[in-house]
Symmetry: D2
Subunit: 361 residues, 4 copies
């Protein structure tokens, strides 16, 4: 048991604070002989990196990853490969400006973990949220890039499908669009709307939430497990562990509660000698095990708690005060949660692939 580890056979342990020396992770249990260079990881990291548009925090971090262990370039082969040993990744913190955060040393920012960390530990690294900062997710994205190599036949993509109260049109869904706008949204029309909306939010010093959808294609039937090892149970834990996430659903999710048994049934026919589901209300998971359909998960991100409008709060000493958060923040943290959602999907699937192979062969 480890509060900072995720997964069982493909196991990731992350470390590091927002304004500490460095952050990173150790990936243990990776299969050997997978080609892996730092640039494979950097590619995913760069999608999550702050400061890429005016809609994400202007904090500038190079987020350059270094592989410390677990890979080896045998001079007799091409390129670097995993060896089966633990892979340690480190990202140094370069832009720390910790003075920005000095004034929240003693005050609990509403919606932040300041109060609860103090209640639990009696000590708190208050510089930029410390360990509770979303900066920790860089380590997840790095580990996720390795996980993708483990499940090479699986394609994982995510998209922002709701920003504040505004939802996309599903009819407009085009995966190509996702990397063509600063919101990772698959609906070009929505992107235009989001831009205007989020500019307003940003200028008001306010913030808004979002809903992200993550889809994994190419997962064979049979991954996952019954009861507490359910694929959807692990996906729920994975997504809910991302900062600011308050809800997770799979397939029809909460909407399925309002359906009849008839409407909710994913009927099956044979096609080209193989089973074909006619719908995917289940989101690709039945009884905790993948059905071979796309695995579809959505999660809700609450609005960033760091806003310019003062909110009532208290100090660590128990005095009433008002708190407003200056500094550089994402008006919609949901945007940068898109690559994080992909990474968490990859981590869950890589782990379940190995677990399945362990038990069943």
């Amino acid at each position: 048991m480890s509060h900072n580890s995720f997964g069982h056979l493909f196991r990731v342990t992350t470390f590091g604070e927002s304004h500490g020396v460095a952050l990173g992770c150790v990936v243990d249990g990776c299969p050997p002989n997978l080609a892996l260079e730092a640039c494979d990881i950097q590619r995913d990291l760069d999608r999550r990196k702050p400061g890429q548009s005016r809609f994400t925090t202007q904090r500038r971090e190079a987020d350059e990853v270094k592989i410390l262990s677990g890979v080896f370039h045998d001079e007799r082969t091409d390129g670097q490969r995993t060896t089966g040993a633990p892979i340690a990744l480190v990202i140094e913190n370069t832009d720390q400006r910790s003075k920005d955060y000095g004034d929240i040393r003693d005050r609990y920012r509403p919606g932040h973990a300041d109060f609860t960390y103090d209640a639990k530990y009696g000590i708190r690294d208050y510089r930029g949220g410390g360990r509770s900062s979303a900066r920790e997710t860089a380590a997840r994205v790095a580990a996720g890039a390795i996980a993708r190599k483990v499940i090479a036949g699986v394609t994982i993509r995510a998209a922002l499908v709701q920003m504040g109260p505004h939802k996309i049109e599903r009819a407009n869904w085009d995966w190509q669009q996702v990397d063509a706008n600063p919101f990772f949204t698959p609906d070009a029309a929505a992107a235009a709307k989001f831009e205007e909306y989020l500019d307003g939010v940003r200028k008001a010093g306010s913030s808004c939430g979002a809903v992200i959808e993550v889809v994994a294609s190419g997962v064979p039937a049979g991954w996952g497990a019954p009861i507490y090892g359910k694929l959807d149970s692990d996906l729920a834990a994975a997504m809910m562990s991302i900062n600011a996430v308050k809800g997770v659903e799979i397939g029809e999710g909460f909407a399925s509660a309002a359906l009849s048994g008839e409407d909710n049934a994913d009927e099956i026919r044979m096609k080209d000698g193989r089973p074909e589901f006619l719908t995917n209300k289940a989101g690709g998971v039945l009884g905790g095990i993948s059905s071979g359909q796309d695995i579809v998960v959505r999660f809700a991100v609450k609005p960033t708690s760091s806003i310019l409008t003062p909110r009532r709060s208290i100090t660590a000493g128990g005095e009433e005060t008002d708190v407003m958060t200056k500094g550089r923040h994402d008006p919609c943290v949901g945007i940068r949660a898109v690559p994080v959602g992909e990474a968490m999907m990859a981590l869950v699937l890589a782990d379940h692939f190995l677990r399945h192979r362990g038990q069943v062969g």
Copy 2:
């Protein structure tokens, strides 16, 4: 790692199939010296028991629990106490009628785990769903009754807040009502509506979904952990591991995506020398750690897949066929999920209480 275990320090391992000899669980890591009699567990089990109204399956199971180990009645003390050793609980299966299920031996019921279990294991106990049957949740409820003893100061209650498309009125919420109607709903007016609605569903041989809300009061600030040991992450996994659950949210949940940062902030004041939150949008968890407020979780249950209307499907041999499920089923499995949701909340909190005490003292 164990697919059939839940929790870390307070750890429950369940076993048993719907139509096997018996089902049960082993609870490991329970603190010693807690008073525990079988009747303490039976009370919770009886709330989950089938056949208590016309709205739950008519399968009749005594669901009588037997404690095999882990308790001891020292003749010098009053009553039986836990010893710190593993507590094994067994519930024998008495009403099996496995003939009812013979016709689904070769056919995959849409929405059930028949197809995926076969895809994974190449063998399946097809009698009543075998291991994938909701009957496994009896073991969870039994374990949950022990968990409640571990966190004696915490009150855990759950209620059905939506049946099919019909939601309760929050203004009508009255915890007293929950045990006064066959739906575990806190809104007496809704109960009357649900009765009529569900009678229609049942007579049509159809089924419907539900949403359940679970509330834990009296949890002190500081339980839980950052990152992958988040209290809400474990709650999400716990609820999503219940049969037929397709979504989980905490506090405002999915609705928080549409709120502004200002509206979502739970402001804090001092009252009688202690911090008091003015709202509970966060559902009692900040940064994965309890804030001292009520912990509020909701989960969505899909409609029972077992319905009388034939659905298109295939056989294990790959031939197209139609499937309808005779036998005795719950038209709304969400009802009996209410005590299961309470149990899972208790399991998560008992585990986190011990984990917190381990690290912080």
Copy 3:
């Protein structure tokens, strides 16, 4: 983490006290489609059963195992098979005579866990040692019988190689002898000596220790893992977890400390196109990973603490007293540890087989 569980992918959780209702275990993670009947397990249990000669406790337990779950006899196939679901095994306690133990309720027997259990838990099931009784090992033997099915190509055998101060002659080693004498010893000449020696010990109301050697043949090169997942590290934990074991060694073990690097090296040649080690000082494990040679482990069992000669001790209340243990006991618990050692070897290897398959395929 679970104090009463062993293994990771092939995971066994045991429960039950010496004089409680029943004892047993849950085996989780077993591969599906292995033929498994209760009699496969009973065979191993019967070897461990007490009362089979005058050299083991006269307590009479049927030790009849019942499989509660995790197996299924599909009417279209021959016999019962594992399904991949958890296998629960139960053995009822039939011969309890708890009165024999009443007088040790308040006194700490030297060498027993009475004192430490009380120090830890503040409560103790004092009937026959409760959870600390060697009776728990019946559950291990039962689980081990299933583990053997998982690693069908591997042969696991154990033998008693030292009783009290008397060692066997290695030149006399004959595996056939092991089941031909009541001591599980492979040296017929030693068996005769042991008989006389142990009769003397028994009549004196005394007890003696033993050393057991466990050998696994047919393990392919590559099982195990570096660092903390070393095969020998897990074997050491496994053997040391058996009641009364005080030492574990692999291959040359403690004797290797006195060897030179030259003498300790297992040289390698090619034979029939395959590597062949010329010696096996390493005991079949290099760097924590199996080399393809026999895996050889030895463990030392201390003399039974229950003896008729009074020993100085104290009461739970802190008064000085003398303790002698009446009742029925093994003069040499090491004898019945032989099948337990085999079971623990099987559990470790089955788990490592699945772990290896998970990571490497």
Copy 4:
């Protein structure tokens, strides 16, 4: 489950190869508010460092540790403290000279893990043993220094009690001597003998084994757990996981097999109102739980496999060859295993302290 992690609540994950960029570890689950500076760790590391006498490898590594995370110096308090977040430690590899090892790229050194790593992974970082190098133990020593802070009332010391065939005189035991000679031995007379003996071994290009004894004083009664969580079981796993260790024993260990029950009993009297054991045959652990006496563990280290005398072996391609290992090696790796044994004892005890506190309070 993680092959490169040790412990449950106080959990250490190590990474790094002998000749890679760096090695280190992540310590998760550390209690908050412990004073911790890098120099606290460096002190222990320096005792393990190579090149401190002519009896250890002449490889020169600074072994300078850097703390990347998990500590915070709040400006309002004195010095740096743990925060409860994961503590990442990194030690850069500075003296790599990988050319020394080029000739063993294709040859399996007898007694080394070369053959088994290749058999398992199909790839091997052959530079200096890669992950199988004893260099990994630097990370353990670093983590152990933190563990000592967690169990501040416990004193952990280790000593070399046998070198090759030469044992110390127990009557000469003097803890002060341990740091006064290059062998960490408590017997000054033995130190002189060891010096002469080991000079001979070294000049012959040979190697020898050793036995180390680790003693923990001040452990209260009640740490540990029954069955698979036994303190001695975890200690056995811990010590056996150290490179080149082939045997572990506790208290009387293997010698206890030859004792009578009477002689092996640790009798108890009262002294100053507290229980006092008259002997410590058990090595401080009864039934897996600490008794309050000194915890005494011994482990055997085989002779270094790297020797100058050629040994018969094969190449990766299956051709017969001879192997001798040039380069800089320890003639007796057991010497530097002394601080490693202390570290492993500290890791086991810190973990069990937290586990005990979790379950029992």
